[in-house]
Symmetry: C2
Subunit: 349 residues, 2 copies
Amino acid sequence: MLPHDVLSQVQAELLDFRGSSMSVMEMSHRGPEFEQILAEAVADLRLLVGIPSNYKILFLQGGGYGQFAGVPLNLLGAGQTADYVVSGGWSQAAAMEARRYGSVHIAATTESTQFTQIPAAQNWAFSPAPAYVYVCSNETVFGNEMHTLPMAQNLPAPLVCDASSHFLSRPIDITQYGVMIAGAQKNVGPAGVTIVIVRDDLLDRAQIACPTVMHYQTMAQHNSMLNTPPCFSIYVVGLVLKHLLTHGGLAAAQIRNVEKSRWLYDALDASSRFSCPVRKQDRSRMNVVFTSGDAVVDAAFLAFAEARGLKQLKGHRSVGGLRASLYNAMPMAGAAALVEAIAEFERII
Amino acid sequence: MLPHDVLSQVQAELLDFRGSSMSVMEMSHRGPEFEQILAEAVADLRLLVGIPSNYKILFLQGGGYGQFAGVPLNLLGAGQTADYVVSGGWSQAAAMEARRYGSVHIAATTESTQFTQIPAAQNWAFSPAPAYVYVCSNETVFGNEMHTLPMAQNLPAPLVCDASSHFLSRPIDITQYGVMIAGAQKNVGPAGVTIVIVRDDLLDRAQIACPTVMHYQTMAQHNSMLNTPPCFSIYVVGLVLKHLLTHGGLAAAQIRNVEKSRWLYDALDASSRFSCPVRKQDRSRMNVVFTSGDAVVDAAFLAFAEARGLKQLKGHRSVGGLRASLYNAMPMAGAAALVEAIAEFERII
């Protein structure tokens, strides 16, 4: 979901962007209109998150999956090992992709729990001198989220974090990270743009095989405009950033997200039909997975909810069950409607 | 530029796509609405171009520049050489990028003419057994276009063509190509989606180092949905394809493009102030480069044209001068207005 006022503004400006007589979809990315859109998006993201000047902000293409290759291609030197903490399917896929480019060590995994838990930080077992430590801080499919992360000083290497699915849902202390990657399509904008925040000292470690469009240093030198960037997606991201800035920033977003997800988790914990398999302290505020344990009942609830206008509640095809996504733009009323639907469903079946 | 009726439809559907109560920017790419958008775009492109079933159509990210790496990563085997025909800056950049992944042979180049000519096909000097022969069939910066290409039977390897900047401006006999790549942002839609058309026998030759998001075979197996595709860009591409289908297809597009560009080239050839440096038979119908030979006069014309509402006429920053882009959606009246501006400018200075 995107905020309604953002979509309304996109609609109003679609044929004529602020008197330019062009749509953003038609602009040259080298023209003054788009250059300003990009500059404002970078400045607003810097302000919103509090990103110091020794971090570069890149707008790339290829999604989180593209960065599964982009991270090792940029950071994994010859003969080095990268350490991966596996807390779900996305970190697992990232580790698998990294093996194309060098040695990978699994520092911890909770696969044996079916990712109903995050690997506890005190049990992460690092390789002797890793190039980086990789985590996915919110796993959409399994509905877990890292609510605390080790401080940088307690890690043997820079922390690389795929924060795609909860980026801008809570405050971020970016100084604890070497690289943060975030596909925009959850909280930040439409699919098609990937935000990469890189600390300066990590910009220039890329392998020869790194495609230029993935090369952090080169893209930073070209201000994300080596080639045509995904202009329209960046424009919408910019509007979402301004929306967040005028709605209390990330602290306020976190308060709303804590409250929305608590309603739903409380309802599930009180439910006689449904439950959430994820350990309480590791539950995601973005992706609430739940199930009755019976595929027929789950399917019945899906249909019941759809009839009430509650869409996109199907669990990921790889795990089944049900899943509610409570991204930033989901209003409180949306979560409340789902809580009500669960209660009503329980009454009638 | 995009067709006005396409932009109007995007605007009308922006908040509620055909009764779904969702914007296309908000849809799950696994939902039925987007699956239909993607399926229609593939089917319409197949119909419009006439793409037989032994070619796959992929919607990727990363632009043409991404494919400068994607092509050798997918097609250049260990110990093999790739042959590049260099007719401008884009083919030159593609050849440079390919060197990361193997041996590159320059089969021909017209750099010594400052790319005012296309290398004549009879002079292309191939390596003994190239993996592929690479061309960029329209060079935007230098304003040249390949109006004829050698038949596949006369080439030592599959032809790989970057057709980004004139894709869908004229009929295409895709059976003469092994791979055609096209960033959408010129004739086909907004920036952020790259169309790749691959013959089946070339799908599965990728190097280990090929990132999964660039891997033709994998992306074909996942119907371009291994990860979240650039949904909104694909949706707009789909509307442009339907627009072209209902406006006479590629044959009619070619007739319009021939006529539009002829007006302008005739005016330049008759001009006492301006001229086009490109050899007549190699001139691009999409990108008309011209100059007075005097940077002050060029700048004066730029300002004069802007005041008449004729924008984006600045030559590429690497070569200077002037450039008019006459992509599909530029109406005849746009070209006529430019011809008139040239005549009027000559009268007053």
